[in-house]
Structures are given as structure tokens and as C-alpha cells.
């Protein structure tokens, strides 16, 4: 008899998810479903709001990457305000804020969420596989992680007034410049931040290489990749063109951001509030793709900061030009963190940060599309307004949504590789979660909700009857139930 396995909720990711595995009579996983069961409805309730509120409203989608939502919305309302080109100071401030955001988010994910798996092993005692244990046993690494994140948060605070949910971007620019006294402490710290990021890349590299076969194959499901790239195909986080490559690294598409709706479609499934984007010229089954650090390092030709570029070359020399392994997300993520730290160092010397030439004006339009590379991947904000400046349509495709099917495929691969007969084991539950965590999903962004994150595995027949359940609570204890 075919059956269904569910993990609910998934832990150490941003938000609350549940996984169901559909198992056939031959114990083969036919389908994996990462359910998103909460609904927040931002696209609906921002309708009617004046467009200039959008960066402030939508950043409340998330407490981890609010700057990404703030700036994606800002890019969209720049267009509505008729501004295609920001002033140099406004652009410098936005980029600085964005690099700081990606840096702190990557630090949060690697040091706080992922490093326990990597440092102690995926099968180690879950009660001791957490940030507290990292602090106890890898104190230097843990403290560096905290300081890297704090540095990014402080840069954000200097620009917007708050580390989370500040006020900075306005239609056509930014509201306030930085001051020299705010910049000085960052200049004093940034060299250490770069060094620590570089050391962390080395740590991730060594961990990956130490168990190379496992890391390369764990949850691997070949897919296309999508991200922004710069004019010279360089890694680009703030602005650029959309580039899509296939699983072999061949170029499929390269087009301006305002054409995204021709490139992508979204499929809705009854069992999740998270949509399923796919490439329009393919089908939902064949057109899914991946975004995020792994995708960005696959699509770009180079990184325009020296240490990160050196690390990128090393990464590709070891793993190949088009890296498919989900666990390589961790490695690519820290290369990006290094890039952000280097980019921040360059920007801190830019006198434009002190200028009050911050807002451009133009002729108002009715539509704006803002696309940015958020920490977790490509983030799309699309708005239309009416003649009274009120939002009439909003379409938000967040990074985690772009990775929706990719996560399911990785879960399916892991479950097929590790499901032992029909028995639900804590080990399987654990590995499924590790696969999801590699993508650094922000389920609160994608759906959107927040909450505690224990984990549950359910076994269900195809008729919907629950056959068994395995729950891991947030304190690490396991509970079986039939």
C-alpha cells in the first residue's frame, strides 16, 4: 500500500514548514512536498495603500532580510516615480545597505543555523547540534560569526536608523546621507570582517572536501539556475539583468528585469501557499530552477572583488563550472559574504556617502518592477498603481518561492537515498531537514509566517489516513505516535 510521510515542522530554517513524502509500494519516494501552510496575504492587503509606503510595508515580510524587501520595493517605486537612474550618493547608500544585509544574513545562516550540522556532523546528537555547542567547542568561529553579523546590522542601522525595519529608501532615492562619524568605526572594523569571512570560506571548503562524495551527492538534483548578473556577467546583487542557465551551464535566457513576467510563470498547488515558479518556455515539471548563492556563482563569470574572486576560482576548480550540490550552497554563501565585506570596504571610502544629493525626480508611471538578489536568491516585486497613487496590483516572488520545487527535488533525492524500508527514523527526519536548510529557506518570506521550529514526520496512506508520526520537539526530544 502506498503511503505518505510528513515532517512537521521543519527546524532551524526561517519560519515553519512541513514535509510530506509520498511513498509507493516499492518504498520509492514518488513525490516530496514542502508544505507551506500559513498565509499572510501581503499581496492583497497592500492594495489601496499609497505607493511610497511600499518599502516600509513590505519589509515587514521578514525580520532577517527586510532590507532586501525594502530595496526591491524601492526599485519598483523608483520606476513609478519616473526615476530610472539614482543619484550616485543614493545608489552608493543603497548598495552599502544591501551588502550589509546580505553579509549579516549569510552570517546568521552559516554560523547560527548551518554550522552545527557541518561542524558536528549531520548524524550527531541533535540536542548538542546547535549554536550553543558551536560557541562551546568552536569559540573563535562562533564569536567571529556573531561579530560579522553585528557589523552588517550596524551598517544597516547607521543608514536607516534601525537594524531591522529601518527607514531609508524613498521614491527616487534615499532620505538621509551618512555622516563621517558614523563611517569611521566601520572602517576600523572592516579589515577584520574580511579576514574572518575569508577564513570561514576556508573552513567551509575544508569541511566540504573532507567528505567530498557525500557533500556532492547529498540531495543533488540537477536543475537550471537563475540570477541577476552585471553587464560583464559579474556577480551582481543590487541590479542587473536576469540570466538563466541550464543544468549544464548553457545560457538559456538573458533579459532585462522588466521582462521577468515573460520569462516566468507561477503554478499553484492545493497543498501549499507557496507558488511554483517555472520558466515559461518549459513546463512546470521541467522548467523549475534554483536561485541563491549557488545559482549566482554558477551564472556569473567573475566577482569584482579580489579575495572573493580568488575563492570563486578555487571553488570552481574543485567543483566544476556548474555546481549542482545543494550542500555547496554553504560554500558559495560564504564566498558571497566575503564579497560583501570587500564591497563594503570599498564603499566606505566613497565620499558620495556623505552627499545630500539623494533624490531624483521624474514623470510618474503606473507600474514598477524591482528585482534584487536577496541573500536567499532572486527577489521580485511588481506593482501597479491607479491614478490616485494607490496600489492596485502586487506580485511578490520571493527567493524561497523560486527554490520551491528545487527543495522538493532535493528532499526526494535524500529520502530515496536514505529511507530504510518503511520505517520513519530520526536519522531520515534529520537528513531531510539538512537538505532543506542548505537552501536557507525563509518560509516566513515565502508564505509568510513566523514561529518556533520543531519538526514532525508523518506517515500517511494515499487515502489520507495517518499511519504514523515522528515528532522532534524544539528541545531535541523525539516523540513517536501512531
Amino acid at each position: 500500500m502506498a503511503r505518505r510521510v510528513a515532517i512537521d515542522p521543519v527546524s532551524r530554517v526561517e519560519g515553519h514548514g512541513k514535509v510530506t513524502l509520498l511513498v509507493d509500494d516499492d518504498h520509492h519516494i514518488t513525490e516530496a512536498r514542502l508544505h507551506i501552510v500559513e498565509f499572510r496575504g501581503f499581496e492583497k492587503f497592500i492594495q489601496g495603500r499609497p505607493y511610497w509606503e511600499l518599502p516600509l510595508v513590505v519589509q515587514r515580510l521578514c525580520g532577517i532580510c527586510p532590507v532586501s524587501h525594502h530595496l526591491a520595493a524601492a526599485k519598483a517605486i523608483d520606476q513609478i516615480a519616473g526615476v530610472d537612474q539614482l543619484t550616485e550618493p543614493a545608489l552608493a547608500l543603497r548598495k552599502l545597505m544591501h551588502f550589509a544585509q546580505v553579509l549579516q544574513s549569510h552570517a546568521l545562516h552559516f554560523f547560527h543555523l548551518a554550522s552545527p550540522d557541518l561542524l558536528f556532523g549531520f548524524d550527531s546528537d541533535v540536542a548538542k547540534r546547535n549554536i550553543v555547542a558551536v560557541i562551546r567547542h568552536h569559540q573563535t568561529l562562533a564569536l567571529q560569526g556573531v561579530r560579522i553579523r553585528k557589523f552588517g546590522q550596524q551598517v544597516i542601522e547607521a543608514i536607516s536608523g534601525k537594524r531591522i525595519h529601518g527607514i531609508a529608501a524613498v521614491p527616487g532615492g534615499m532620505n538621509q546621507p551618512l555622516t563621517a562619524d558614523k563611517i569611521t568605526p566601520f572602517k576600523q572594523q572592516v579589515t577584520d570582517i574580511i579576514t574572518w569571512c575569508d577564513e570561514t570560506v576556508q573552513t567551509v571548503r575544508d569541511l566540504f572536501q573532507a567528505n567530498r562524495d557525500f557533500h556532492e551527492n547529498f540531495g543533488t538534483a540537477p536543475a537550471a539556475f537563475l540570477s541577476l548578473v552585471g553587464p560583464q556577467d559579474q556577480l551582481e546583487l543590487y541590479d542587473g539583468e536576469i540570466k538563466v542557465i541550464d543544468a549544464n551551464g548553457q545560457l538559456l535566457h538573458r533579459q532585462p528585469c522588466d521582462q521577468y513576467h515573460h520569462l516566468l510563470q507561477e503554478q499553484v498547488k492545493s497543498w501549499s501557499y507557496m507558488k511554483f515558479p517555472f520558466l515559461s518556455d518549459l513546463t512546470p515539471d521541467t522548467g523549475w530552477y534554483r536561485v541563491g548563492p549557488l545559482a549566482r556563482l554558477n551564472t556569473c563569470s567573475h566577482i569584482d572583488t579580489p579575495k572573493a574572486e580568488q575563492r570563486r576560482q578555487e571553488y570552481q576548480a574543485l567543483l566544476g563550472k556548474t555546481v549542482q550540490a545543494p550542500l555547496a550552497y554553504h560554500w558559495s554563501r560564504m564566498i558571497e559574504a566575503l564579497h560583501c565585506a570587500e564591497a563594503i570596504a570599498v564603499l566606505l571610502d566613497d565620499p558620495a556617502l556623505l552627499s545630500d544629493d539623494l533624490v531624483n525626480q521624474g514623470n510618474k508611471r503606473r507600474e514598477g518592477i524591482g528585482i534584487i538578489e536577496a541573500p536567499r536568491g532572486t527577489l521580485i516585486h511588481h506593482y501597479r498603481i491607479n491614478e490616485q497613487d494607490q496600489v492596485t496590483m502586487a506580485n511578490l516572488i520571493v527567493s524561497t518561492t523560486n527554490n520551491n520545487q528545487a527543495m522538493n527535488e532535493s528532499i526526494r533525492r535524500v529520502a530515496n537515498d536514505h529511507l530504510n524500508g518503511r520505517e520513519l527514523t530520526p536519522e531520515l527526519l534529520n537528513l531531510v531537514e539538512v537538505a532543506i536548510r542548505a537552501y536557507d529557506p525563509c518560509l516566513s518570506c515565502a508564505t509568510h509566517a513566523a514561529g518556533k521550529m520543531p519538526l514532525q514526520l508523518e506517515l500517511m496512506g494515499t487515502d489520507g489516513a495517518r499511519l504514523g508520526s515522528l515528532t522532534r520537539h524544539s528541545d531535541g526530544s523525539i516523540q513517536h505516535a501512531d
Binding site: 511610497w52 509606503e53 529601518g166 538621509q176
Partner: protein, 243 residues
């Protein structure tokens, strides 16, 4: 010693001039009595009831009660602070106030008083009323969700701008800010962004369509200094004294 008549406000002598209300005299003396609908430049309205004080056993609104010699007035009492908290909670429950994204946040007198009075929750079930915004004006946006019906816009429009564009229409919980125009829209009136009425709103109901969110968090009027310490400073006068 001055011969000017005085009354006592929380034990402090407050000199007053003939015709002064308690609020006007306190305001001139730099003493803050909580208020929302009062503005020193416009006739009192007496509607928000935040300024209700205890005057020798009677509760009266300070903005309408004439000052007189030897009065003993109490404002900062436990009972009055509790009443003010409940009034603020009623206002929050009656409208749709979402501070996190409101551009008046940090400069809003309603929010500042809520913080100052220790409001931690709505207390009353919110009405979640349906209020229609008006974006018809090229320079101004009316967000009726945030209106507290203080009628400051109406008084400023009449007494300062001499246009009488704004008014309160409807009754009871359906009371709303309206405009004297053929189609009822602000865009059909002679309202201008530089009008006094366009800047007098103590909350976030009347908004400009440009220059929004001028300050980062932490730099706004009430971000660092609570409203009782800011006293009679107001956002519509650039945070300076409002008389």
C-alpha cells in the same frame, strides 16, 4: 511678584490672561497637558477629551474651561492617566492604525501618547472599519483609516486658510473627514499642499504625496524624547514650539 492672576496646576502656579482657558494658560507657561484636538492657533474643539483635568472636584476639558483665579487644577493624577489611556485605546480600536509602516510614526501624537501612557494593547476589540482613502488630489493623500476626528484640518482650513474645505461628516462611528466639493473628493477642491490644513494633522491622515519619510528611524520628534517631555512642541511646526 507679578500681579497677574494665577491658578494652581498640579501644585504649580500658572499665570493667565483674561479670556484664557486652562490649556492656553498652561501652554503659555510651558506646562504640558496631554491633548490631541487642541492647537494654540485655532479655536478649541473639546472633542478628544485627552485634556480633561480635575478642577476642584469637577472634571472639565482644559481646552474649553476658562481659567480663573485661585483654581486648583489637577492633571497628572493616576485616575486621569488611566482615563487618558482608555481614551487612546478607544481611538486605536475605532480606526485602523498600523504604526510600523505609517510615515507619521515617530512624529504622531496619538502614538506618542500611547507610549507615554503605557499602552501595551488595544484593550477594546478593534472595529476594523472600512474607510475609503482619497488620493484624488495631486499633492495630498487622505488616509481616513488614521483619522481621529479632531477637526484640526477643518479649523485650520476655515480659520487659517479661509477655504473651509475640510469637515467632519456622518454620525457616531461613521463620522469621517469629508471635503466641500461637488463630487466629495479632495482633488476637486482648492486645497493646496502649502495650506495650513495640509500640515496640522496630529496623526497620519493628511499626507503629502512627495517628500515622504524624510527621517531615518531614531531622528523623529518622539523617537528619543517622549511627548510629555517634548511638551508643546509639534511636528507641524518643525518640532518647534507651536505658538
Amino acid at each position: 511678584m507679578s500681579d497677574q492672576p494665577q491658578f494652581q496646576l498640579d501644585g504649580q502656579p500658572i499665570p493667565f490672561q483674561p479670556g484664557d482657558t486652562i490649556m492656553q494658560a498652561a501652554h503659555r507657561a510651558g506646562v504640558y497637558i496631554p491633548h490631541l484636538c487642541f492647537h494654540p492657533q485655532f479655536r478649541p474643539h473639546g472633542s478628544c477629551r485627552l485634556c480633561v483635568v480635575n478642577m476642584q472636584g469637577k472634571t472639565v476639558s482644559a481646552c474649553t474651561q476658562p481659567a480663573s483665579i485661585d483654581l486648583e487644577v489637577h492633571s497628572e493624577t493616576t485616575e486621569l492617566r488611566q482615563s487618558r489611556l482608555r481614551l487612546i485605546q478607544l481611538l486605536f480600536a475605532e480606526g485602523n492604525h498600523f504604526c510600523p509602516s505609517c510615515e507619521t510614526s515617530g512624529n504622531c501624537q496619538l502614538q506618542a501618547l500611547a507610549y507615554d501612557l503605557g499602552m501595551t494593547h488595544y484593550h477594546y476589540d478593534p472595529f476594523y472599519p472600512t474607510r475609503i482613502p482619497d488620493g484624488s488630489h495631486p499633492e495630498l493623500f487622505i488616509d481616513r483609516d488614521r483619522c481621529i476626528q479632531c477637526d484640526l484640518c477643518g479649523r485650520a482650513s476655515e480659520q487659517a486658510d479661509h477655504k473651509a474645505i475640510y469637515l467632519l461628516a456622518g454620525r457616531g462611528q461613521h463620522t469621517h473627514v469629508a471635503f466641500r466639493s461637488d463630487d466629495g473628493e479632495l482633488g476637486s477642491t482648492q486645497a493646496q499642499a502649502e495650506d495650513r490644513a495640509s500640515h496640522v494633522c496630529p496623526v497620519g491622515c493628511i499626507l503629502p504625496k512627495s517628500g515622504n519619510y524624510p527621517d531615518i528611524a531614531g531622528a523623529r520628534l518622539y523617537d528619543q524624547i517622549p511627548i510629555h517631555a517634548q511638551g508643546n512642541h509639534r511636528r507641524d511646526d518643525g518640532g518647534t514650539h507651536d505658538d
